[in-house]
Symmetry: C2
Subunit: 448 residues, 2 copies
């Protein structure tokens, strides 16, 4: 005899609403005349798209950032990226702590959902660590970038560029200010600058490991313990970085539109850069449209997997991917347990991995099908676009600026779901947990 259900504000629902609100505030700011270089403010839908892209740290843009927005507008975007990357709950907690307020149980439950944690214990401590991590890495990144940008652009612009790109990189946002070299040029002008071509990936790879992993690695000298989670994240990140870089090197070797024209050193650096950036960073130093289709396909796969849980990156996540592969491997070897590093991964986690993947694929497929109807672009290009939006990657084969209004809304929704994770959105939409009243006898259907 339960009371009639009201619309309860469960943690997943609060997260969805919080992100939506942050985006709306951003959209209002970005539709003001003061944020653009010209006199005409951009249309509200474009402002909404840009705010979503910034808060969801995606980097897909319908207007070139540097050439459209004033410095004020760029700073707004930078702040939106920072709020989106840290997570609005992280920001709220930070303010609460600075004001000396207590963080309640309800807030801790939301934090647990926000950072994909298993337990409530230690989530406030985690937020403190996360803030320190952001400060240290974004500061360091800006310092190193400054050694290149200050000589290039002078003190004022140099420091500004260093801070903007360090924040954008560590948050895996993929926004850049290089429109002066041509609209949407991303980091292509710096393809043969190894300091920039290596500092930026270092920032987004570390940012993409997830806070839990970074904290654990820092504490290792005291704890002497590495969890299965961290081992799987490091292993999978290593595999994907290697597979991406070697794959691109192998396929694009000699392609005159990409690696063909570069020296040996630049070829290796560019292949590395382009192999790691689909893991949700979204910068590019090579012309994506000039790549062979096989490379574009490889990039789609890397974008779909994305970064690690509890990071600023999107995708189904490295642990989801490796858990599925481990389950498949066990099955082929005739073993019922999914074992990794001498630990058994519980059935429940395997099912969760399966669920995340199926929901994500369903989303990408539906969005692609709808985009083929709303857009006149090539099917493969819109497929690339929707995976990029879902993985909050921000790479594009050039479709984004030409998206129709319904197309913009579709891509915007995809970025939103991609940033929050399909499970959080599914839980927010679902009517709440229902416990099975009785257990049913087992019966096997034939499979495959």
């Amino acid at each position: 005899m339960q009371p009639k259900k009201q619309l309860r504000l469960t943690p997943p629902r609060i997260l969805v609403l919080g992100f939506a609100l942050t985006i709306l505030i951003g959209a209002v700011l970005l539709s003001l005349p003061i944020v653009v270089e010209g006199k005409e403010p951009i249309p509200f839908l474009d402002a909404l798209f840009t705010a979503t892209s910034a808060v969801c740290v995606t980097g897909l843009v319908v207007h070139d950032t540097a050439n459209t927005f004033s410095t004020f507008g760029e700073v707004v975007i930078m702040l939106l990226i920072q709020v989106g990357g840290l997570g609005f709950m992280g920001f709220a907690t930070l303010f609460a702590l600075l004001l000396g307020k207590r963080v309640g149980v309800k807030e801790r439950l939301i934090l647990r959902e926000a950072y994909h944690q298993d337990r409530v214990g230690g989530v406030v401590q985690l937020v403190k660590y996360i803030v320190v991590i952001f400060g240290v890495f974004e500061g360091l990144g800006a310092l190193i970038l400054a050694t290149r940008f200050i000589p290039l652009f002078g003190w004022k612009k140099g420091i500004y560029f260093s801070v903007f790109h360090s924040i954008s990189a560590f948050n895996n946002a993929g926004f850049d200010l290089n429109g002066a070299f041509g609209d949407y040029s991303s980091l292509t002008p710096f393809v043969n600058d190894p300091v920039i071509s290596l500092t930026i990936p270092a920032l987004f790879i570390i940012g993409g490991l997830g806070f839990v992993v970074i904290v654990e690695l820092f504490q290792y000298r005291w704890t002497r313990r590495i969890s299965l989670h961290t081992k799987l994240v490091l292993l999978t990140t290593g595999i994907l970085v290697a597979a991406g870089s070697f794959g691109i090197l192998l396929i694009e070797w000699g392609n005159p539109r990409t690696l063909g024209g570069l020296s040996f050193r630049d070829t290796v650096v560019a292949a590395f850069f382009q192999g790691v950036t689909p893991r949700t960073a979204g910068f590019n130093t090579l012309d994506l449209a000039g790549m062979y289709p096989a490379t574009q396909f490889l990039i789609i796969l890397l974008m779909f997997v994305g970064a690690s849980p509890g990071s600023t990156g999107g995708g189904i996540k490295t642990t989801t991917f490796i858990t599925m592969l481990l389950a498949v491997w066990s099955m082929i070897r005739g073993q019922d347990d999914v074992v990794s590093f001498r630990r058994t991964i519980p059935h429940h986690q395997v099912y969760r991995a399966l669920t995340v993947t199926v929901l994500s694929m369903t989303l990408v497929i539906i969005v692609t099908m709808l985009l083929t109807i709303t857009e006149s672009s090539d099917v493969f290009h819109v497929f690339f676009e929707s995976v990029s939006a879902f993985g909050t990657v921000g790479l594009s084969l050039g479709v984004t600026p030409d998206l129709s209004p319904p197309g913009r809304i579709l891509v915007l929704i995809t970025m939103f779901i991609g940033r929050l994770g399909p499970m959080t959105v599914a839980y927010a939409v679902a009517k709440g947990m229902i416990k099975p009243p009785i257990r049913h006898p087992e019966e096997k259907p034939l499979i495959g």
Copy 2:
């Protein structure tokens, strides 16, 4: 202290070798001068491709069947389809039974693997049933088709056409003899003949249910029991038939190159036909290349799922698909058991479904990537082609006849793996089952 391993002929390996041998014999026959209409025999690679397509009941063709092959050649193809559809082990067992021989334990183990059965008991009985089912349905189908083909083509050609198309349809082979209406025209000339447009789907839908289901339905009047397997097959088949037909009706409504020019009745029949044929039959009555990309995408999804286990069709199979969806649904509802029709599906079967799907997707993705390198065709078209080959469907956006030799070999291997099932091939390649020596403690990675 195990003895050194030899290459053991396990059931999966015998199945792989048996199918390969059947294909090779077919390829040798089809490269003889007597099987073609002209004087020049077709190249051996083309004969191998055609034999693979016939034995794997796919229907992708590099030469139009009617315009290239003599009647003798067509009969060879028809027999290859029959052997491939029944399965070479079914054929071998049939001969053994006709000769009064006993079927040994080893053969029963192979039959179990061949028909994706769970138990060895009853497999010989199953083969007997299967032979009867083939005879009844192919005979009935030929009779009904004859009422249309004999008036059209006269007695001799009419009966021949009826038998050929009935066998091709019930085995989900997708081969046709309508080249007289233009190369590769498939059943497009009969788009407004409801007898043909409904008999052929009836045959391939029943054939695609799988023998276990058909036998169970026939025995229902005595047993009064329907297994979970049969319920899931019927439910999923129903859902996919409805989704495919309505989807195509909805998207293609008014497309002048497909449904637009047809009367209301013909529109409905054509949408139904085109909605069910991707479920591995491979005939088409509408021009596939003229469809909107969204429809082609929908067809790719249907082809990937395919028919039911233990049928002549390919794909990951209906039960695999529905098991995954049920697992996802349970997870979102917070339930640990995967429940359907008041039965719990064991974890093991869910893992098997996951494994089949991941292996299949990996295959399709790798083949597509390689085809983008070997072929100059559009990426989306070769993606369509590789899913069609894997699902042993045989639909094509026109790529097949232009495939380069490496492309032909790639598609041929894909059809082969698609017909045998990725699990059987994986087991054939794997070194054999290894039991886990110790159980490891559980530890959860964070997922999604």
